[in-house]
Symmetry: C2
Subunit: 411 residues, 2 copies
């Protein structure tokens, strides 16, 4: 007893066992720490240069970064992503993905995990996020309408069935966020533009404007002042000056070209892609091999047309407005053209790959990313040299969306 | 031996000791994990809604976020921050702080730590970051010149002494980033504008343009096309169309107001604050109680003047261009005025506090933050209601800078 209880022996005993325990604990601790730090290091990063690439067939997102031009992670389980679109939280951490099947999913770009997911409609065509980042709005084909959600929780706040003046439910297109916690949208069948004030998000107020026949998409200009809707049922566009009180829709560019001899339309242009550059609007002409240039300062009159290689789909201005890039409908969907907005001439015709579906500029426009659906890759171009500078593998990629959209209207 | 070596006893022995070891290891591991996770959780966040407030007297930065309108952390040890300015890395994680004492410091906004710091000059007046985010440029008073640094390491890459055509070294002002890895800057004493092509950052190429007498500050328009320098030595401004080949500086707004009866100038306006809204430039008139409105589409002619409460210092457009906010030189530096750009009228005169030094809009403009130097606080306004919605304590705050600047030219 005495022997075993002497402080010296105890200390020695503790010393031996303790050493072992401490050694093992230290080893375990180190392993744990390393694992945690690795996970932590992955997630600790700025989000200003992040983005997502939609892999439509796989129902998957790639998370990418535009500084090193690499893929960081993938996120599965997003449902039907054909025609999917994406908006971002104001801290640029979360992507809200609007799936064609009505799925609305909030993805954490830092941990590459789904944090919330709701099935909010049967057939959805995109969405928007409010100026203050607190509300997410979805535009639905079926049931036709607009639904508002809390951006944090995806709790439903309001449901606006798109019932037009004809008393019937319409498909909703062209939803865009406006300054002042408002949204604008268009109703296809009833030919209306709605301005939605969501100051009280559980009781949004709607101003209904007659717009024209079959608005098929819409956009808001980067300054949030003008809302434009393309009309499929007639030859022209509907325009709303959102600074006017009360706002009214008027017709512009009537007879701009579908007129006498309309060409078959292979793919509807996407108006979200309409570009503002050097104070002018660069608009894809439906069915024609042209971009129209219109001047907002002169009543939106047409000031020029630029002849192109095919029917334009996306017409996108480089952030500095010096270039406009255009992709095309089938059978010219292997082609991309670059217009110099100073000379209004095509300065380069690229044939990057088969099935160019979408394009996205880096925030300050030094590079452009484009998706090659049928060649299963994404390509990156230097917009100064027009040379390809990177290629990333992707499974049937469609939309490409960068987080800088969080800080711009109508994106 | 046999007893002690039976598998059963060994297992039991391992069971007892092992339990203890595992218990201790688990406890240590849990502590370690908790500590790491806490540190990690702090640092794992989006950076799109971050910003910094300069506490000039304390040589300290506050790191703030604009979603909840709170202070997240402070960073000390930044030297002399009077007249300090800040640019951001393209991933919106790092702030580059240009101190008056020539200190250039790279601060990690996520960990609130200084990651690099160099003393690069004796007297510095700000800087810029290249379009691709790879180069940081500092503009120095003494020794007069521009220095280029690797944005990652702050390794010096090039030193451009500002030696004008008169053979003497000038102070550099109005440094701004341009599309295509270029910068523009002005030389005060020699009256030159320099366009710097940093494609090869160790051997930048300089184009020198005679600009006029004593350019005291400069800016580039948000589209990167126009560079303007205010002239202190004569009544007008110098303008460069950067799309022109070769570029030339010409005089605009000659005789705009300093003319016949110049008022004493209490504080030079900051041209970085010049605002583009609705296609017009809103310019502080030196020494006069006015903002000038000029139209780039009509040769930069003056189209209007708006009378104000004092000598304007910063004239800043809300991102949608519907409002312009103005602060003033002493003795009107307790006042801020809001102009409606549609009617060109002052719609509100605020008296927030003593010593309003700087203002910054949130990325989509729903709020404006302003610094109250002499009242030791920062105030936040809702730009729709014009009501104050938050107040944050701050020690002699001056500049306020949000990370959205990373994605804009001239910021």
């Amino acid at each position: 007893m005495a022997d075993r209880s002497t402080p010296g022996r105890q200390a020695a005993g503790r010393g031996a066992t303790g050493k072992l325990i401490r050694g093992i604990a230290a080893a375990l601790g180190a392993m744990l720490a390393a694992t945690l730090l690795a996970a932590c290091a992955t997630a600790v990063r700025g989000t200003g240069d992040l983005g997502v690439v939609v892999e439509r067939a796989a129902g998957r997102l790639q998370i990418v970064e535009t500084t090193g031009m690499t893929r960081l992670a993938t996120v599965d389980g997003l449902g039907d992503l054909s025609h999917a679109s994406v908006v971002f939280s104001r801290d640029a951490r979360y992507a809200y993905v609007f799936g064609r099947d009505g799925g609305l999913t909030r993805v954490d770009l830092l941990t590459a995990r789904i944090t919330r997911r709701v099935l909010q409609a049967g057939n959805s065509i995109g969405g928007a996020i409010s100026q203050d980042g607190r509300l997410v709005a979805a535009q639905n084909y079926a049931p036709g309408g607009i639904r508002l959600f809390d951006a944090q929780t995806l709790e439903p706040l309001a449901d606006l069935p798109a019932i037009g003046n004809d008393g019937r439910r319409a498909k909703v297109v062209g939803l865009a966020d406006l300054p002042g916690r408002r949204f604008a949208a268009s109703l296809f069948e009833s030919g209306e533009i709605w301005i939605i004030d969501a100051s009280d998000p559980r009781h949004p107020q709607v101003t209904r404007l007659p717009a024209g026949s079959e608005p098929y998409d819409g956009l808001v200009t980067p300054d949030g002042r003008w809302y434009l809707a393309g009309l499929f049922g007639e030859d022209g566009l509907a325009l709303v000056d959102l600074w006017q009180t009360p706002p009214q829709a008027r017709r512009i560019l009537s007879g701009y070209g579908r007129g006498d001899t309309p060409l078959p339309v292979y793919k509807m242009p996407h108006l979200r892609g309409w570009a503002m550059a050097q104070g002018m609007a660069w608009l894809p002409a439906i069915g024609r091999h042209e971009v129209l240039v219109a001047d907002p300062a002169r009543g939106w009159q047409q000031t020029a047309r630029v002849a192109l290689a095919g029917q334009p789909v996306f017409v996108m201005a480089r952030p500095d407005g010096r270039q406009v890039w255009v992709n095309f409908a089938f059978p010219h969907n292997d082609t991309v053209q670059v217009i110099d907005t100073a000379t209004r001439e095509v300065v380069r015709t690229l044939r990057p790959c088969r099935g160019v579906l979408h394009m996205e500029f880096t925030p300050k426009g030094e590079a452009l990313w484009l998706s090659c659906r049928d060649d299963n890759r994404v390509e990156v171009y230097d917009t100064a040299s027009l040379a390809r500078i990177a290629t990333l593998p992707a499974d049937n990629p469609s939309g490409i969306f960068f987080t800088a959209r969080a800080q711009r209207f109508g994106m």
